[in-house]
Symmetry: C2
Subunit: 360 residues, 2 copies
Amino acid sequence: MTVTREEFIRALQERGARIADFLNQDKYRLSFHPEVLREAVYSYLNRPAKRMRPGILLFACGAVSGAEERAIPAAAAVEVYHTWTLVHDDIIDNDAKRRGFPTVHEQFRSLALNEGYSEREAIDFGRNIAILAGDLQHGWSVQLLRESAELGVGRQVVLDLIALLADLTKGLLEGEALDVLFAKRNIAELSENEILRMLELKTGALYEYAGIAGASIGLNKTVAEDPVIKAIGSFARKCGVAFQLQDDILGIVGDEKRLGKSVDSDIREGKRTVILRHAFENAGADERKYLLKWLGNPAATEENINKIKAILTEYNGIEYARDLAVRVVDQAVEEIKFLPDSRYKELLLAWAGYVADREY
Amino acid sequence: MTVTREEFIRALQERGARIADFLNQDKYRLSFHPEVLREAVYSYLNRPAKRMRPGILLFACGAVSGAEERAIPAAAAVEVYHTWTLVHDDIIDNDAKRRGFPTVHEQFRSLALNEGYSEREAIDFGRNIAILAGDLQHGWSVQLLRESAELGVGRQVVLDLIALLADLTKGLLEGEALDVLFAKRNIAELSENEILRMLELKTGALYEYAGIAGASIGLNKTVAEDPVIKAIGSFARKCGVAFQLQDDILGIVGDEKRLGKSVDSDIREGKRTVILRHAFENAGADERKYLLKWLGNPAATEENINKIKAILTEYNGIEYARDLAVRVVDQAVEEIKFLPDSRYKELLLAWAGYVADREY
């Protein structure tokens, strides 16, 4: 009764569509004014995406025999929460594309240009709308989470999940800040543990939250009341880290069209990844010099970028990161072995398999 | 037993100091990493300020015979919430000063320059730290509000206040967006009601929230459970709008050193105020032309700015806004007349007097 990759993808898509419908209800849409902000708030939410986090939340709820229905507002909350971090992160990284379309600040910069704003004014306008849209989504996500209380989830459970979300924000933004600060640090002095901790904060923690929220709502218990909740959270955190490791790999060998965002930007920004660290450690003096000179260098040409990619591959950076992802997912799977068999458990394991690119 | 202006200011300062001490506890300070974000989060919070909003929240709590002690986390939440909106708003307005010191994005731009970043990188770094700091404060404010539940405030009361805070965010950011969009609109086509609605959203609503939260916690009841809560909220909203009207006046005739922020910036940005609208309506064709040409014009000289100020004063813009503020506060005072006499009620009335610059 193993869930195949195709079945997992289909199950995820089904939940993704439900969450999108839920979020597009008039009672939410029409609560945002003026129209330009409403459009900005819904921009990423209505683009094709995997909706991994709400899916995992719902599967976690089911895996402890909870009713998925009751976890829908929380699943929507996690998706909206994730979205605000993307909107603000895209400003921070000066990224131009997200999910195959312009980032929010770019989208509204173009709009302003078309309306006759000067170049300078249009850049500011795009940035301003993106800041406000992310802030709105942040507030909205808390509101959605709170709605769980109206579906019979205990008030203390909801209050604890709200507190945990604020803790999450501290960790997540610490991760983002480290990501920015690391890009300025000498690669030779950055340890793998530092990079992994950054990944846990920046990506793992939100998956952990999705696992915890789903299980907590499913059991209608606070985290302190049942160790199962923490175990599922830990499973999700580890898979999330592995997912980010794979994402970093795609940032080097991936296909821009399929990803919907520009590859190479990690290299152009000098992003500190496990791949880079490992390759740098194993590279010879000449290649090290080359990496130090061209990583994060705005003057880098396509030739420089391609040479960097070749170095990262040749010195086993890609292979090492892939192996590490598998090891992390192996540990993750151990965390939820004890769960009773169910289709939901199989869906969680199928996710682990998807992330590690193997079967569990 | 009327509270004098001096007593009101002293009572406010006392609460402000308590809130500052509360927020500077290690359990909060040390929860922010890395250090650069911690500094950014505390930057405005540790500058001299009136701390009007937490003060009003605490007085509202007392005015319904509630214990101030129980409202401290909520009062701190309102101050932190207000601060995140300032940090993000300062990016949006490209403002350089706040409370007598550089704005967060400016502060960290300078820091980056000193550490050898390029001009372009330093601007991005300052902006990024300010975005993240505001986001952290936003999350923190929800967390502080939630802490009220640990001091015996009913869970449903807390959950309702959390929901209300998210509603507030929608209105407040709508107000900010309108402020930005209005600056692009023809003054002749903007009605006073549109401007007043923008003020209600951008400034009035957070004061209303402070009044509601204080009264709701003081009574340990939800808004739906006792009409007194709404009445106090309405009083606070009106005083908040009047306060903003006075602030707009100071933006034209105020003293830069005493205000701690640059005056003239409202004129340089072409901000649509009641003052401007009224003066424009009464001005002759030549003055109108002058206003349309130089308001929000980046090429405006000091001479242009001074001439604009003279036009706004000559055509009674200042006087009109001052009268309007008094009328609004008169209405506000009616809202809380029914409250039993107490020092807290007197403090609220002293605030009204402070805002309208007269006695109640």
